[in-house]
Symmetry: C2
Subunit: 391 residues, 2 copies
């Protein structure tokens, strides 16, 4: 237990500069949690609590008396200090001993995963630590969340592997006459059978598109779109297994009896879409900026004559499907600073894009990849042609 | 669907003053939600979103384009406005039209349920609404959360009724030789069978104490404490059913064969503890302050010669087991302003306290009560004597 939190605490110390002091300050996390807490503690707290990590390697937890034992058992903090009446004197003394020039706290206008400090708690902390300027810990949190530890990577692998099993089960299910809703129900039943939950809102996970009329995007599966022979089925799905997610898109082709080859238009679309994903994968490595990866995929797709997609090519996955700051996206205003983030080893990204094939449906693919020291590893074999279901 | 949210939106307008404008400002609620959101929307959002409620009765939602349809279908907002690039111009225009002297937002140093605005989002909002002072909405949120609507009350009733069934099943189970862990397992299985979850962390819900040696407080059930004939079993449990909780404590006595009456020490403890709860119930009505209710129970218990308990006599329950600001607690520094809150009709409180009975175990009782216009209604028949299990 708490293996991931121990790994993340060690990482945090390596990310912080020698003189940095970082405080995660929370209370009543059943009401207001902080997304950092699951990385550095692993459970909630009730009274005002401060988790203090210094670049010099000290890890101090100050928590209400009744929670001291849980934090001690968690084992990640060298000092666990309890209090009864007020956290203020203990917290102030701990910071006075560390004497930082400033204190890093969890707020960020641009990254919600680094914005767990509530405004009321920020006011309280500023009073308690009067004289110490508070600064944003966003760069620390972005690195901490983005660089997956060994245990985090194995959990994501397990989620991806389970997703591959669900995809296989869908191949066995598909036949003309089933609706998008029927397919989504089967997938939810498979999730239940495996004891996992959808990686995002169940109403949209899976997203299912049968044929060329079904709208892509943030809409749920519909009973109005029915599998037809000679058409495509597109599914976007992911599972959450042991707190970590997958996020995959796959495409099936319902091949009519007697047809020899998959229609040329579908083959062309696969070549373009997988080609663009491969182009992104070819440049994805530590040190590149997010937009450079996006540009490689985007330019490849456009060069094949298909229309440009209107979203980023990829995002982090981890505890959530949009798991942190760096986007593999274009330098458009709506993406803010996120395309300028630097890719690091241990990041896990999606690579995703698609095109419409008139008369057939959507060829939209999404792969999950781990950034290694020199490039990437595909976490699932990438899809290069439709899964053919003879009918 | 969304019946509760419609009721709470109507309530919010009645709580606000004519000229008040209240904004709930959130994004990526999968990372950082706001506890108010479940009351006034009922689901999460992704892009920057503003839920604006004015005392004059206007309800405006400004959300990202892809979420407009979900908010329209929810049906609580008169105007649902979508945006693509930035929420700023639309939000600014809406507030400029309302022209409030100040804007109420969700921060509070003292009440975590009213502190859902993150510090980063507060900085963004202050920039967007430059010229309008931001003030705390804590009194609005405290009233909104505390005054349970008819649908909320029926859900709490259902949770309490189900808890009574689980308590009955425990009576059928208890026998010498079972450990605290065995009892907790049975209760978790009952929760699963009824499709409900524990009202607080599963490791401590239920809390189970067998006999006089088992420590009361925030510790989990232990395999080391075993039911013995002639001893007490104390359980603190609650369920979450349809998002609303119960929170109840009950006490059993394992009566040895041949014993005629429950031992006098246990009878005395019940008389004192239930008497103190009854004393609190006698003064609990709209208009009293929390500390007055606490004082009635506390003085009654101490007058019977038992030692004073070191916690508040009661707290709100609702969507969470500590559901808002007003505490039925003593005017001790650690409770801050919460004992000074005014009790209102529609509040649902616990009344809870206990004593140790040397040689037998804990007599600690907890009742759930609804504040009516003139007093209280017990949501479960209060316990006045131990549940006797002959062994």
């Amino acid at each position: 237990m708490y293996k991931i939190q121990h790994e993340k605490l060690a990482q945090a110390i390596s990310i912080l500069n020698e003189n940095d002091v970082w405080i995660t300050f929370v209370r009543e996390t059943a009401h207001n949690s902080d997304p950092v807490l699951e990385l550095i503690l692993g459970f909630g707290v009730t009274w005002h609590s401060a988790l203090i990590i210094s670049g010099s390697g000290r890890k101090i937890a100050i928590v209400g008396r009744y929670e001291v034992e849980s934090v001690r058992r968690m084992g990640g903090y060298d000092e666990v200090i309890g209090y009864d009446a007020s956290i203020q004197p203990t917290l102030r003394a701990a910071i006075d001993e560390l004497r930082p020039a400033q204190v890093l706290v969890n707020y960020s206008e641009s990254d919600s995963a680094a914005d767990g400090l509530s405004h009321g708690m920020c006011l309280t902390l500023a009073r308690y630590l009067e004289g110490y300027p508070l600064a944003s810990a966003e760069s620390v949190i972005s690195a901490l969340r983005g660089r997956k530890s060994p245990s985090e990577i194995s959990r994501i692998r397990a989620a991806v592997d389970l997703t591959a099993q669900v995809i296989d089960s869908v191949t066995g299910l598909l036949r003309p006459g089933l609706s998008e809703v029927d397919i989504a129900r089967h997938i939810h039943a498979e999730f239940d059978r495996h004891g996992v939950t959808p990686a995002w809102e169940p109403a949209h996970c899976p997203a299912v598109n049968c044929g060329p009329e079904s709208p892509l995007g943030h809409t749920g599966p519909s009973a109005d779109y029915i599998i037809q022979p000679g058409q495509l089925v597109h599914i976007d799905l992911g599972v959450k297994l042991d707190d970590y997610v997958s996020d995959i898109q796959r495409v099936w082709y319902l091949q009519p009896a007697g047809e020899q080859d998959v229609p040329r238009a579908i083959q062309d679309a696969f070549r373009a879409v997988h080609g663009a994903i491969q182009a992104a994968a070819d440049v994805l490595r530590p040190g590149v900026q997010g937009w450079q990866v996006d540009q490689a995929a985007r330019e490849h797709l456009v060069s094949t004559g298909y229309p440009e997609y209107q979203h980023a090519t990829g995002h982090h996955i981890g505890r959530t499907v949009h798991d942190g700051a760096t986007a593999l996206g274009p330098r458009w205003e709506r993406y803010g600073q996120t395309p300028f983030g630097i890719v690091e080893a241990g990041n896990v990204f999606t690579l995703e894009l698609g095109v419409s094939v008139p008369g057939y449906g959507a060829v939209s693919l999404e792969e999950d990849v781990l950034v290694t020291d020199s490039g990437i590893e595909w976490l699932m074999e990438p899809q290069t042609e439709p899964i053919v279901v003879p009918v």
